[in-house]
């Protein structure tokens, strides 16, 4: 296969001829990386001392913990999405989904229940579905529902709320509701121009083992990097914002929902772990904690960045605020009825 080929016709500066020339002008990133690593190892004494302030240590611990905790789930999701991308033929999705988008949306939304991944994995999978010819409205419903309603996440929710089994039902219902309404809204009002079709490494399109590993590498580098960003945001919040502030908001039901929905966006916790964080926010009413669980897997800082990278800025700027508003509304509605 031809390495210099492009998928979306974008300029290919790496095209065979000028690779050597570019190497001359720019330093090899590989070399820079090795040099940085060696100098960090050589200077580790001073670096350790600089990082020994308690606030900095707490930041580092939470950062490391979030990355370590989410990484196995991310790797698992990425393996699965690579298998789907490479080994499941496009015709399968055409046969599996109803022809009419209005019906395909709820089917795809419910199908999210079988993807045992977190939101880090569902973005690449949804991108793969769009490339496989699934109607965008259905792929978006899947994108929103998969991280929230799969068995791993629902089990984690049940474990985190042993005395509130209705929390699991409420989370399932509210998340499925939001994803279907968002899918239908895209079908009704969405414009194809807002969605920039995601491009992939050429060899990830080829099929076979090489394509599988190329897809894994691509997704690990993307999702993993944004996981690091999310972990930094979460650690910063945890290290800087005193719990007193949160407890002040917990007393007022409206402020509680607003604060926890905002917190879900800022913290960017993986959906497999967010139930435990929600369970620990003991001062807050259950509806507010439901909003935390519904908003978090659908839209947060890390997801917004990932959606921008995968579907384009024009898409993310419209999709993210709509998702946030709808997720908060659905949580309040379902929370009022069920909790």
């Amino acid at each position: 296969m031809d390495g210099a080929r492009t998928i979306d016709g974008a300029a290919a500066p790496g095209a065979s001829g000028d690779v050597g020339e570019r190497r001359d002008r720019r330093l090899d990133p590989f070399l820079i990386q090795v040099m940085v690593l060696v100098s960090v190892v050589a200077a580790q004494g001073p670096i350790r001392r600089a990082l020994s302030a308690p606030a900095m240590q707490s930041w580092m611990t939470v950062f490391t913990a979030v990355v370590l905790q989410a990484l196995p789930f991310l790797v698992f999701g990425v393996l699965l999405s690579a298998a789907i991308t490479v080994f499941v033929p496009a015709s399968f999705f055409a046969r599996a989904l109803p022809r009419r988008p209005a019906l395909a949306v709820p089917v795809a939304g419910t199908a999210g229940a079988v993807l045992p991944g977190c939101e880090c994995a569902s973005v690449p999978v949804a991108g793969a579905l769009v490339r496989r010819g699934v109607p965008p409205a259905a792929a978006l419903a899947f994108l929103l529902s998969a991280p929230a309603i799969n068995p791993v996440v629902l089990t984690a929710t049940a474990v985190a709320f042993p005395r509130e089994p209705r929390m699991v039902v409420a989370r399932f219902a509210a998340s499925l509701l939001v994803s279907c309404v968002m899918g239908w809204s895209w079908h009704r009002w969405g414009r194809p121009g807002w969605l920039r079709p995601p491009a992939r490494p050429v060899d990830a399109e080829a099929g076979g083992a090489a394509a599988f590993w190329a897809s894994v590498r691509h997704d690990v580098m993307h999702a993993g990097a944004f996981l690091v960003v999310g972990a930094m945001a979460a650690a910063t919040l945890r290290a800087l914002v005193p719990a007193r502030w949160l407890h002040a908001a917990a007393a007022d039901p409206v402020a509680a929902v607003a604060v926890l929905a905002g917190l879900a966006v800022l913290l960017s916790i993986c959906s497999e772990a967010d139930a435990f964080v929600a369970a620990s926010l003991t001062g807050f009413p259950l509806t507010a904690r439901l909003a935390f669980l519904v908003v978090g897997p659908m839209i947060d800082v890390k997801l917004f960045a990932m959606q921008t990278a995968t579907f384009g800025r024009g898409f993310a700027l419209r999709f993210a605020p709509a998702t946030f508003a709808l997720a908060v509304a659905a949580s309040v509605l379902v929370g009022t009825v069920l909790l």
Binding site: G3, A4, R5, D8, A10, A12, P13, G14, P29, F30, Q33, V34, L37, V40, V41, P54, A55, Q57, S58, M60, T61, V62, F63, T64, A65, L68, Q69, L71, P72, V75, L79, A156, A199, D203, A209, A214, V216, R217, H218, V220, M221, H222, G224, A225, F226, V229, A231, A234, A235, R238, P242, A243, F276, V277, A279, S280, T282, G283, A309, G312
Partner: protein, 236 residues
Amino acid sequence: MNRHAQALVMFLLGVAVLHAGYTPLYARYVKSGLRPLLLAAGAVLIVTALATVWTSRRGRPVHEGHEAHGHGHGGPRIGWLLTLPFLALLLVAPPSLGAYSADRTGTALAPPPGFTALPASGPLRLGLVDYAGRAVYDHGRLLAGRSITITGFISLEDGAAYLTRMVLNCCAADAQPVKVGLSGTLPPVLRSDTWLEVTGSYVAEQAKDPVNGAPIPYLNVSQARPVPTPKDPYES
């Protein structure tokens, strides 16, 4: 970021995760149940890195530009961030959460589902959370008159000394402290984050955590000795 650089980043991250999983290091950050998953994830990362090098060695040119989708040249520059967890784990290896986090968070003592029977006589060695739960919600029914030993780290707030243990659900991001107040014979100098094994007796005295108003039970200390950080610094 070319493919070799991506392979290197993934390899280093995989090594760091395997290292954390093999050694007791992981216990500072995540629950022990995650250990097999950590080892598997580290192995997959290393295999992916090797597969990347392998496929590009088999005659495929290391081309960069075509992988750009909104990231400029080569793979995503943001991919470099994956070096940070590697540096954090292998070079810094930050300690488990201590007094700094505990001071900023209210004690998270919750009513335990039930109270197991205790040995009828002799000195008792209890988990700190177990002691706090029995002292507050069982009113020390089985504790009175016994010699009790608990282990935790010192956290100092507004002059009061607490023996504290962080409680973990999943990873250190959701850790919350449980605090026990210390009265009686204390070492003359108490420093935050020192791990102590204290022996004493139950007292009915209680305080309210200034952060969230939750109850903090007390232990009347007769003896305290410094101990190294336990292998699993958290309780669940």
